[in-house]
Structure formats: structure tokens, C-alpha cells
């Protein structure tokens, strides 16, 4: 418990609130790196995932990428890219790493969201005369939103946790107290930094959980609803006209 209280004391010490390595500045750098990486990953993964979900083709590739690529050793990849691209391209190397890390969750969120939609709903939309694009945006994307937000949530969490390694290559972020504290053996600093990242991750998770809940279209919310019967109650002896 002593180390824990030391860590909290470290967090609120005045040295941490001014200067080049002030906590607000580190937080800003951390969020900026996360936001840029997830945005770029979304631009790549969402269209791809939607295409796979809409056409049903390429599913195996999507599954493989979503599964295996999540296990990229981010630290090793980042260091490798820094070596390959050179010290003048460190931000690019780090962002490529985080983008690659975010893509699997976003891809999975996009295509599972579309896959989970009942085909009959899409048929119904087509039967109503909607164009393909209208079906896509108004029906498929809307209905796939909860799973997509779930994918965004997973991606954000993974990237927030991983951006701590950016401090190793001089990009700042909330990993700085950890990476500086270990060689200095200042474990209150290390724990303080780790706690801040953990709290940030939890806060983002809660916000996105609320967003995921809000993303469910009103018509799909479970709960007491009055459902209009489409056909009258009939005895079981009648041959079934509705297909199973």
C-alpha cells in the first residue's frame, strides 16, 4: 500500500504539472497518437470490413487478419520500423505500428456488424425499392453500428495501452514516467504512470460502452414492446405457410 500512496503523491507533485514532461502534456501526446492511429486504421479497415460484410466474400482473410494480427509484438515491430525507416522518421514508424495494431479490431467490428444482420431485413429493404447504396448506409451500417462501436472500443483500448511504448522512441506519451522511472529505480513514478494509463483506458472503455449502448437502433432495443401480429393466431394443424 505504501508504494501505491507514493505513486498517488508523485502524480500530484508540482513537478508533474509543469515543464516539458508535465502530465497534461503527456496525456495530450498520448491521446493525439492514439487518435491519429485509430483514425488512419479506420479509414483502411472500415471500408474493407464493410465490403467483406456486404458481399460476404473474403471472409477468411478478414478472420485471419483479425485474429493473428492482433498478436503483433508491437514493441519489436516499432523498433524494427525505426531501424528501417531511420531516426528522421520515428513518428511515422510508431504510427504505422499502432495502425497495424488497431486494424484487426476495426475490421472485425465492421464485418461482423454487417454479417449479423438478418438477410431478410436486407431483402425487405430491397423489396421496398431502396438502392444498393441506400440499403448499405441506411440499413446495414445502422444495424451494424453496435458491433462496429464494439470494434472501435477494442481498438482504442489496445492502442491506448500500447502507445505507452512510444516514449521509448522519444514520442512522449504516458509511457514516459514508466520508461524513465525504471532505470532511475523510482518505482513511485513507474506505478504512477502505469496507474494513469490504466485509468485512462477505463474511462475510455466506459465512454465507449455507453456509446455502444446508444448505437443500438431504437427499434432493436430489447424490452417491453408491443409487437403487432402479422398474422392471426392459428391452430398448429394448419400447414405452415411461413418458412422456418
Amino acid at each position: 500500500m505504501n508504494l501505491f500512496t507514493d505513486a498517488i503523491a508523485w502524480m500530484f507533485a508540482p513537478a508533474q504539472w509543469s515543464g516539458n514532461y508535465a502530465l497534461p502534456k503527456l496525456l495530450g501526446e498520448h491521446l493525439a497518437l492514439t487518435a491519429i492511429s485509430v483514425l488512419i486504421a479506420a479509414v483502411i479497415a472500415l471500408p474493407a470490413g464493410w465490403l467483406i460484410g456486404h458481399t460476404g466474400r473474403g471472409r477468411e482473410i478478414a478472420v485471419a487478419i483479425s485474429g493473428a494480427a492482433r498478436a503483433i509484438p508491437a514493441f519489436g515491430l516499432m523498433v524494427l520500423l525505426v531501424l528501417l525507416l531511420g531516426v528522421l522518421r520515428i513518428p511515422e514508424a510508431a504510427i504505422i505500428t499502432f495502425v497495424l495494431l488497431a486494424i484487426p479490431s476495426l475490421l472485425a467490428g465492421a464485418y461482423t456488424g454487417l454479417e449479423a444482420i438478418d438477410r431478410r431485413v436486407i431483402d425487405a429493404a430491397r423489396a421496398m425499392g431502396m438502392t444498393e447504396w441506400q440499403i448499405f448506409w441506411k440499413v446495414e451500417v445502422r444495424l451494424g453500428m453496435p458491433l462496429l462501436v464494439g470494434g472501435i472500443r477494442a481498438a482504442l483500448l489496445q492502442v491506448i495501452a500500447t502507445v505507452t511504448i512510444a516514449a521509448y522512441v522519444n514520442l512522449g506519451g504516458l509511457g514516459w514516467p514508466i520508461i524513465q522511472g525504471i532505470p532511475l529505480r523510482r518505482f513511485d513514478q513507474v506505478l504512477g504512470g502505469a496507474l494513469i494509463v490504466a485509468v485512462l483506458a477505463l474511462v475510455v472503455d466506459l465512454l465507449l460502452a455507453a456509446a455502444q449502448h446508444a448505437a443500438v437502433p431504437r427499434g432493436l432495443r430489447t424490452g417491453r414492446q408491443v409487437r403487432r401480429r402479422t398474422r392471426p393466431l392459428a391452430p398448429a394443424a394448419e400447414p405452415s405457410t411461413a418458412t422456418a
Binding site: V82, V87, L88, I90, A167, Y168, N170, Q180, P183
Partner: protein, 307 residues
């Protein structure tokens, strides 16, 4: 949701996972270092165990110690490449490892709770002997060191007429020093340089890319350790430190006190011959010529008539 088939595959996966977990116990302790000789280090009182850090330069010095001791008739067991201080210090302190090549300044920083205020080689060594826990002895330290520096490109030094750290005042444009992250908090950080030498330096935590950043011109000053082969392979020069701002960190054998007398002659003879330039050359043989530490050590001992 769970069909019979589902239950069976879940069971199968569970069994495989349990078996895999059980099988990991067969591998032995992954943290134990492979040792050269049979028999345990602490068990046999005649065997001297020589350890080294997970750092190629330290491994070369450990090989030198080990081969010299073998040449002097001792039975030696090597446990090389253990890792950082947090990993090996417990074993050194407990006596499981008997001989360890260390660096006076950084070991002193590691052992001291408070900030270290001594910097000259002799003072650091004295402070270290006081700070060492019981059971450990520091033998003679060598001229060879692996300490922090304020290093610049030779061209930059010539352009701005720089010989010592204080001369950086002459530079009109912004001067940034790149170093590992912890440098910013050390007693010889840019803030201290401002106090002692009156120079204004910005800090960049370049860490593992420090040398490349210096060569690429991203930073003007770099913290390159004195044993770095770059001093031979690149055109860089360390600025002089006449006010002894930077803590000295010389190579020193840390040995178990009970064998200190036996091994001191052999190891002190090595420390007497191990100069700063020699250590850099040994490191170049390792990084540039890719020779093994054992070969480098053997040749050095032969060249210096120590074996």
C-alpha cells in the same frame, strides 16, 4: 447455444490447454542461465563463478576475467549475459556469483538511495567501497570506463571551437542534447550543466537512437558512453569535463569477500592494463568484426602477457 458437439470441442480444447500447461513444467527454469561447467556454483567451494551483464562489452570483460583465472589455476564457471542489475545483483550479493565486472559510477548510483554527489574516479570508488553490502569487495578499478559524456561530431567541434563542455556557450543556435530518458534526472543533466558550465541545452530523450540522431544532425550533443565503439568508427569526440560534472564509471571487479585475496592479483593485473582505448578497441572487434567474446578475450590476454 451449446450443442453436444460444442460441448465436446470445448472439452477437447480444455484438455489440450491443460496438457500444454502441465508440459511447460517439463522445460525447467527458463530464468536460469546455461552454465558452462557441470555442478552448481555455490555448492562447490573451489569453483569461482564469473557472471556478466546482458551487454556484449561486459561479457568481453567477464571472459577476460574468467580466462585469466583459469590460466592461474582456478576452476571457473561462467554465467554470462544474465541481464540488468535487478536480475543479477541478488545473486552477486548472496555469493552465488563470485566475480562480476561492474562500473563504479553506475553501481554506486544503483546502490545509493540518495543522489550521488561525488564524480571524480577516486571519490566514486571510495564511495562505492562504502556503499557495497557486506560480503562484497571491490578490487582495483581500471582506467577503462563506460560513463556518460557530452559528445559532439568532430566537424561541429571544429566549426564552433569546442574542447570542453563550457565551450558550448559559443554556439549561437539552439543546442539539443540527446540521451537515454533517465539522463534528464541525473545529477549531470542539462540543468546541472547550466549551473556548472553556464550552457543552455534542450533535452531530447533519444534513447536507443542517440548515436543515429547525432549523425543525422537531429541533435547537436549526444550522451555516448565512453566505451562505445563509435568513438573509433565514427567522427565524434567527447567534450572535456574539467569541472567533473559527470560521474566517473570505471570498470571494477566486484568479488565475494571470501575469495578476494585469492583472485586480487590476477584481476588487479588486468585492471592495470585495461585502458579506455583498449576497451573501445575490444568493443569494435565485437560489433564491427563480429568476433566472439571468448576469442577477443583470449587474444587480448595473450597480447598483454596475462595468461
Amino acid at each position: 447455444m451449446f450443442t453436444a458437439r460444442g460441448k465436446r470441442s470445448v472439452l477437447a480444447v480444455g484438455l489440450v490447454a491443460a496438457a500444454a500447461l502441465a508440459l511447460t513444467a517439463c522445460g525447467g527454469d527458463p530464468l536460469a542461465e546455461p552454465s558452462d561447467d557441470s555442478g552448481s556454483g555455490s555448492g562447490s567451494s573451489d569453483t569461482i563463478v564469473v557472471g556478466s551483464q546482458g551487454y556484449y562489452s561486459n561479457e568481453i570483460i567477464a571472459e577476460i576475467y574468467a580466462q585469466a583465472l583459469e590460466g592461474a589455476g582456478f576452476t571457473v564457471e561462467k554465467q554470462l549475459n544474465i541481464g540488468q542489475r535487478d536480475a543479477y545483483m541478488p545473486e552477486v550479493e548472496s555469493g552465488e556469483i563470485n566475480v562480476f565486472p561492474e562500473y563504479t559510477g553506475s553501481l554506486l548510483e544503483y546502490l545509493s538511495e540518495d543522489e550521488v554527489d561525488v564524480t571524480a574516479p577516486e571519490d566514486v570508488y571510495t564511495a562505492l567501497t562504502e556503499a557495497l553490502p557486506d560480503g562484497l569487495t571491490a578490487l582495483d578499478y581500471a582506467e577503462a570506463s563506460d560513463q556518460d559524456t557530452y559528445t559532439v561530431l568532430k566537424s561541429f567541434a571544429e566549426e564552433n571551437d569546442l574542447t570542453s563542455i563550457g565551450d558550448l556557450k559559443n554556439v549561437t543556435s539552439q543546442v539539443t542534447i540527446g540521451a537515454p530518458p533517465e539522463f534528464e534526472q541525473r545529477p549531470y543533466n542539462p540543468a546541472a550543466a547550466k549551473e556548472v558550465y553556464g550552457v543552455d541545452l534542450a533535452f531530447s530523450a533519444t534513447g536507443p537512437t542517440t548515436l543515429e540522431s547525432l549523425l543525422a544532425g537531429e541533435i547537436q550533443v549526444a550522451d555516448i558512453y565512453t566505451a562505445d565503439p563509435a568513438f573509433e568508427t565514427e567522427d565524434i569526440v567527447a567534450l572535456e569535463d574539467p569541472e567533473n560534472l559527470i560521474i566517473s564509471s570505471n570498470v571494477v571487479p566486484i568479488v565475494s569477500s571470501d575469495i578476494a585475496d585469492e583472485v586480487s592479483e590476477v584481476l588487479n593485473a588486468i585492471s592495470a592494463k585495461l585502458t579506455a582505448e583498449e576497451l573501445v578497441s575490444l568493443n569494435v572487434l565485437s560489433t564491427v568484426d563480429q568476433q566472439s567474446s571468448a576469442d577477443i578475450a583470449k587474444k587480448w590476454l595473450e597480447d598483454n602477457d596475462l595468461v
